[in-house]
Subunit: 348 residues, 2 copies
């Protein structure tokens, strides 16, 4: 800030008023060509930097949007960030960024501060446990009619736009792939957090199990953090069961990678000795050892749609809140295959 030149500085140097400078720098035809050029040269020479917030104060838009992610250590979410960043750059908007770290208080604070900073809109991957109250309650009155789009995770009854993955479809594709390959003994390594994603994926898994006439026993479902360590540790526990599963369905790629690491240590060949699947299909899934069967969540589509919706809202669009559900795709790779022949239950 160290006393940078302002419109006044330029005006004094050229010998006109700030109004003339303001108009000239924005190429307003009201200022003559000659004067305009003198002004623009002076600005250049002085190293003038436009003050967007002073302008925004008058005009009513600071030109920023806010983005709040729950977890930066998960590349899945940074993929979103990348896609949105690109779209907002196109729209000439800067991004105010927050890493909420799955912590409600950090998220709450950001929701206040981004408003104080004049953000014109907010894209939010709500942290686990986010309630309707948090986005709609008396503490956040300023969010009323505020352009806000939720992505990836849903929060019911908030009246905001949402763009989310079709988790039900994803799990169905995955389960059917495994079931068709002959698997009957499944384990679910699930997101422990209180998120729509964790709930929806697990519910779908249970539904598919039921539909296939398979029992969902206590040792079928396991909850834990979305971390490599969790997947790694869980494989050990699953192997210790009297009848270990032949297919391990993981809530996310991250967990699956942990399982693959443990498999490697045990000399187990995923895709041959047992099947392991992820969910999200982040970039690394194609290069794990072995490559991971997963469900490709369209972070590009979701990120772009969310950006579009937000920009539309910021432009004054007043349509009723939408809930867009983006279909994912099954990506079969080496980590899944038929169960080992010795373990296939012969009918009768």
């Amino acid at each position: 800030m160290a006393n940078r030149p302002t419109l006044k500085t330029i005006a004094d140097r050229v010998g006109v008023t700030v109004s003339a400078v303001s108009l000239a720098l924005r190429d307003d035809p009201r200022i003559s060509r000659a004067t305009r050029e003198r002004i623009q040269q002076a600005a250049e020479a002085l190293g003038y930097v436009y003050n967007r917030h002073a302008a925004g104060l008058r005009r009513g838009d600071s030109g920023t949007v806010a983005v709040c992610l729950n977890d930066l250590s998960n590349p899945f979410f940074t993929e979103f960030l990348g896609h949105m960043e690109a779209r907002f750059r196109e729209a000439d908007r800067m991004m105010l960024f927050c890493h909420a770290h799955e912590t409600p208080s950090i998220q709450a604070r950001f929701i206040r501060q981004m408003a104080e900073h004049g953000a014109a809109g907010l894209i939010l991957v709500p942290v686990a446990g986010t309630t309707r109250e948090d986005l709609d309650g008396p503490q956040v009155r300023h969010l009323r009619d505020f352009p806000l789009v939720l992505i990836s995770r849903d929060v019911a009854d908030t009246g905001f736009d949402r763009v989310i993955n079709d988790d039900e479809l994803g799990i169905r594709l995955l389960f059917d792939h495994l079931h068709d390959a002959g698997h009957r003994r499944f384990a679910w390594l699930g997101g422990g957090g209180d998120t729509s994603t964790a709930r929806d994926r697990e519910r779908s898994f249970r539904q598919r199990m039921e539909a296939a006439g398979l029992p969902v026993a206590a040792e079928t479902i396991h909850h834990g953090p979305t971390s490599l360590a969790f997947g790694d540790a869980m494989l050990e526990r699953l192997l210790a069961l009297p009848t270990p599963p032949t297919a391990i369905v993981c809530f996310s790629d991250i967990i699956a990678f942990g399982v693959l690491a443990a498999c490697y240590r045990h000399g187990l060949r995923p895709g041959v000795d047992l099947s392991v699947t992820g969910f999200d299909d982040m970039g690394a899934a194609a290069y794990s050892a072995p490559a991971l069967t997963s469900v490709r969540v369209r972070t590009d589509v979701i990120g772009q749609r969310a950006s579009e919706l937000l920009l539309a809202r910021m432009a004054g669009d007043r349509h009723p809140p939408v809930r867009e559900v983006v279909p994912p795709e099954l990506v079969v790779r080496a980590s899944s295959g038929p169960p080992p022949a010795s373990l296939v239950e012969t009918p009768g």
Copy 2:
């Protein structure tokens, strides 16, 4: 922005002036307890949101810092982001974020725009090819005396603070570990970008080779992007050589993961049949298959130091520019070991 309440709104409701409201909301003792409370309640009731930029206009600091990363898809850099975000949150500063995508024009644009948005400081991981000119030339006159800290990658002679990893030390630790284990046939899979990191690591590698009396042949050094695909593809080429290397030293973990993936497909056991090492030691390195020997770059230390330096500069510190070099640590895991017995050259 949709006509939110302002100080005036509150003032009218309570029956005082905006000055009184301004003072009251900041708990100034000049306003009586009674009035202060009435004002604060009214603010609460109206859902008032502080306008930091209007205030900043008067006070001269908008409360934001800018952060520009070269590559978001590399978790190594998001680790930095996480550490800095935490520090800036503590300091009550919001982050204006940019993903430069290794693209100079995007970086240049951000350097201008963050200034327009009144950022009080900038942390930059310069994109490949960034020159002294880009940070010090006539196009960026506003960066003169601007609080700016470079991290991870250095740009010479710019007069800015820098916090970087000791790449020379890192490579030395890695090389000596492999050499001591008996390896004599090395390959280098290097960063193709024009960055100090790529240069310093490769130079160190060459120096150690020379010091060990080993020839650096054409098939020893290979350049390519920092991607899984590059590492994956390179293993194929290295295996096709008449005398393949026994140790593959990768510029970064990302490349090494690609190599591991290819090894898996070929049935090669890293750490047994050949050794593979990474650099950065990002979180996933402990959970690859097998776990990756790497050099732990202290993203936490670097991120924190950079934040501290920046905050100090923003507070008016005028010390001459510093260049802090943070020592990394060797982390030996399963992906490296002695060369296969059959390949160890017997002396004489």
